[in-house]
Symmetry: C2
Subunit: 337 residues, 2 copies
DNA sequence: ATGGGGACTGGAAGCGCTTCCAGAAATGTC
DNA sequence: GACATTTCTGGAAGCGCTTCCAGTCCCCAT
């Protein structure tokens, strides 16, 4: 680089020499291993301070076979959709836990083929000590790649048809049930649902929660439209449902964004919320508090998801056998239901 | 870990042995260095394939003194505010460039003291080959830490009172001028501004752009209120300004979120936009297209910022001397002005 | 005095790769 | 056919750390 480094960083050998001890001794004080005498320790510490010595991470990694780095791999159809605050929340959660350790976070946006092969490479080259994976699609090839790596792997959410050994997931099923039960408790009977993509585990689980709640209450599922978790998608689905079931009196939308779209359509159609139609969303994003009326929704903590993923990975790396987690969701009552 | 790795990954020595050549020869084909005969190359390639060999990243890093990792360090007062899509955009831009190389991205959320010392450590321990820094506050201690590391450093945005050697920045000054000039061209004369924090370079630059445009047009700056880039802050500032300058006929808000807040207050106050009051924002976030009326604003591409930062860092690592960049901003005309 | 056991120590062998170098082999030149 | 080049090769020395191991030293019970 153009901004020259004045001189090499000092090495452990130099520290040892200056302290008048062997390199092994110096290494021992560095890792504060047992069997180091007071004078040795002090001499080494003095030398370290005087030289401004910092152990070289790479060298240590080679010797210990531990890189001190864990990866978070994110997959999404559209790389630009990484901008979804969802991912940011995961990262915040993960970082919060890692901050307490001396592990660092490597971020892999692995949507493209190129990204996937980079990830494969990273794993096989033992570039990280473990990996957290958020693959949102059912049949994401990442899942296989990562499981084959022979490294500790924690999944965020579950792929559609397989149960990974270690995962952290939100209780989507339970949350959707909660939402639907709330609507039923309100006396609504003609409850429809707007689902996310049924090809994702999240979409499927939230839909199943709705169905189960309806059936448990002795009712047939009243109507559903598959959408894509977006506001525009939610609006389109709502139009469709109004058309097919003009007498609907409640809707459970599997995401807040879709709920927001639905709210807009309902208002345009002259239905008042919650009087004519009660609406419940899912996610409890910021948007939920800002709709008109404010959205009753199912809360899940994405930061907590990130945190638990990181904790689980740490445990795995430490050789423990943690158990997979399903994080609780809860109903937040606001104005729309 | 509990999921046992079946067996060690093969090493280059084993590849060499199997191919019947020396380790140096094998290394040469790996890095396709010159002076490798056809038969040697083929024998090694065959052995690699048969063994499923992958060069160990750490070992290579130690030998070459290049980790193949670059860091992106983000600093913010409130770590939770990392959820701002701004950062996600930067990451998307950076990743897009890195994807074409074989460098990986290490993400450091370094708001806390702990985060900062971790970063310091990482740099001094030569854990990365270079670093990109987004320090939003003027006197962020990160700036000093990073500059002292003796590693290639690229700044995103400029700290308040210093000009880093290598940076990429949006043309905040020019954009603010553009916005104000647009308002002037519309015949508005009583133009006020809502600024972001003046302790940040962005806040200061956008305010200066407003002032300069006013003065160039032969007018005194008509009124300003310092805010904090948020919607709530923008609303509060707008109230203040309406109070102090009831006859204002235009407002330049230094962020779209503040503009959205201002719009809300104006509408509550019975002022129609743009008839009574013209409004221009800054950033061109998604929210700008969704306000009522849609917001005329200054566009800047955060992804491009990320991309250019990454490119600049690559150049620096390659030993070149790139030149700092100021990315253009442009006016997007929508309904509010 | 004697031996047994802990507390320390430094030498040496790695970790898995790159790279320098001296020399062998192949090629070219007249 | 003699010589200078050029291509190719493997040995060996790193990169900067950890860790095993065989000792040395010292203290205390016998």
């Amino acid at each position: 680089m153009a901004a020259a480094t004045p001189r090499r960083q000092p090495t452990l050998d130099e520290v040892a020499e200056r302290a008048g001890v062997s390199r092994s001794a110096a290494s021992r004080v560095l890792n504060n291993a047992p069997y180091v005498s007071r004078p040795t320790r002090e001499a080494v510490e003095k030398a370290i301070k005087e030289l401004g010595y910092r152990p070289n991470r790479t060298a240590r990694a080679l010797a210990t076979r531990q890189t001190g780095i864990v990866a978070l791999a994110l997959s999404h159809d559209d790389p630009a959709l990484f901008a979804d605050p969802f991912f940011a929340q995961v990262i915040v959660g993960v970082s919060a836990v890692l901050e307490e350790t001396d592990l660092h976070l490597l971020l892999c946006l692995a949507s493209s083929g190129r990204g996937r092969s980079r990830l494969t490479n990273l794993l096989q080259a033992r570039g990280v000590d473990g990996i957290m994976l958020m693959a949102l699609h059912g049949d994401d090839p990442l899942t296989g790649i990562v499981d084959r790596a022979g490294l500790p792997v924690v999944h965020g959410g579950r792929p559609l048809h397989v149960e990974p050994q270690w995962y952290v997931d939100s209780d989507n099923l339970g949350g959707a049930r909660l939402a639907t039960e709330h609507l039923l408790a309100l006396g609504r009977t003609r409850i429809v649902t707007i689902t996310g993509q049924m090809a994702t585990q999240v979409g499927e689980a939230r839909h199943r929660g709705y169905r189960e709640a309806m059936i448990m209450a002795g009712r047939e599922p009243y109507g559903m439209a598959e959408s894509d978790f977006t506001e525009a998608g939610g609006a389109a689905a709502m139009k469709l449902l109004l058309d097919r079931h003009p007498d609907l009196d409640a809707v459970f939308a599997a995401s807040d964004k879709m709920a927001a779209g639905a709210l807009r359509v309902l208002s345009d159609a002259g239905r008042s919320v919650p009087a004519d139609v009660a609406v419940v969303g899912f996610d409890d994003l910021d948007v939920a508090a800002q709709t008109d009326p404010p959205l009753t929704t199912v809360h899940q903590s994405i930061q907590a998801l990130g945190r638990e993923m990181a904790r689980m990975l740490l445990a795995l790396i430490a050789g423990e056998s943690p158990t997979s987690l399903i994080l609780p969701t809860g109903l937040i009552r606001r104005g729309s239901a």
